[in-house]
Symmetry: C2
Subunit: 183 residues, 2 copies
Amino acid sequence: MSAVANLAVPTPTSHVPSPESLCWRTDVRMADAARVAELVAATVFFNTEEIAIARELVEEHLIKGRASGYWFVFAETADGMAGYACFGPIPATVTSYHLYWIAVAPACQARGIGRALLGRVEAAIREGVGTRLYAETSSRLQYAPTREFYERTGFRRAALLPDYFAPGDGKIIYEKLVSLGGS
Amino acid sequence: MSAVANLAVPTPTSHVPSPESLCWRTDVRMADAARVAELVAATVFFNTEEIAIARELVEEHLIKGRASGYWFVFAETADGMAGYACFGPIPATVTSYHLYWIAVAPACQARGIGRALLGRVEAAIREGVGTRLYAETSSRLQYAPTREFYERTGFRRAALLPDYFAPGDGKIIYEKLVSLGGS
């Protein structure tokens, strides 16, 4: 599964919310499946299959709860979802976690919401005595902002699998030692 | 998820079946969940959580069919399951597949059943116009026979993620271009 994010940096506008003005929550509600699909579609970074996967992970949580292995952080404004992250413990590992998705709505970008989402993910992992966070993205030019986001928030490029997603579209695996502190 | 195999090479005994004497099938039956768990436990390579995962993948197939993304090849003798492989298309990729599990019962090892299972997996991938097969295993000493199996069947070591499974227990990602021919 690709965990590719839209964290491009448009020019900030005055009505864009800051992380401090947002409402944060980690419980998952019925309406989140549609809202996540809408947010992910709005970023125009993801194809139909990827949007369906993002939605399915919310639905898995709605059915199985935390046992689904898909945990969430939502950032909301009065108008709706500003961003969200989906992460969880990696099966058969002791203290490794995967960041499945992190995305910020186009209207809410460039205000540090992505970094704030990541900080809350890392805090939750440290609470669960997790030590490592992995994220994957594409090697394509389109994902340069995503790679820059990971690189400036303390991830290291751990591996490249050429042509993984498609010919000319490799997978980059990023790794961050979350036990060493916040992002 | 770890796809780690017990492909150690004990001294062959005369009653060990050869690949030619086995019954091969790809349909999944109710009894396979228990049989796979039994086989995987018998290899003594896997812990309780891993055995549960192996079983769950069979159950996922029983519920959702091929749409589960977990496809199987079983090799059977008159006495039961000699070996099996579990593989499937990787979501959000165009032609990449993952080898989730490959295991051979201790009494049936060292006769090429692992290689024959892999050959059938690759043939199925080629039929589906797949091009790449990924497998993951542990960097621990215990898995040296598994790594040797992948290396002598045409996989290349594509990445190492140190301490992924646990401190001192890294993940090695193997890759094979299945479009280039059999194993």
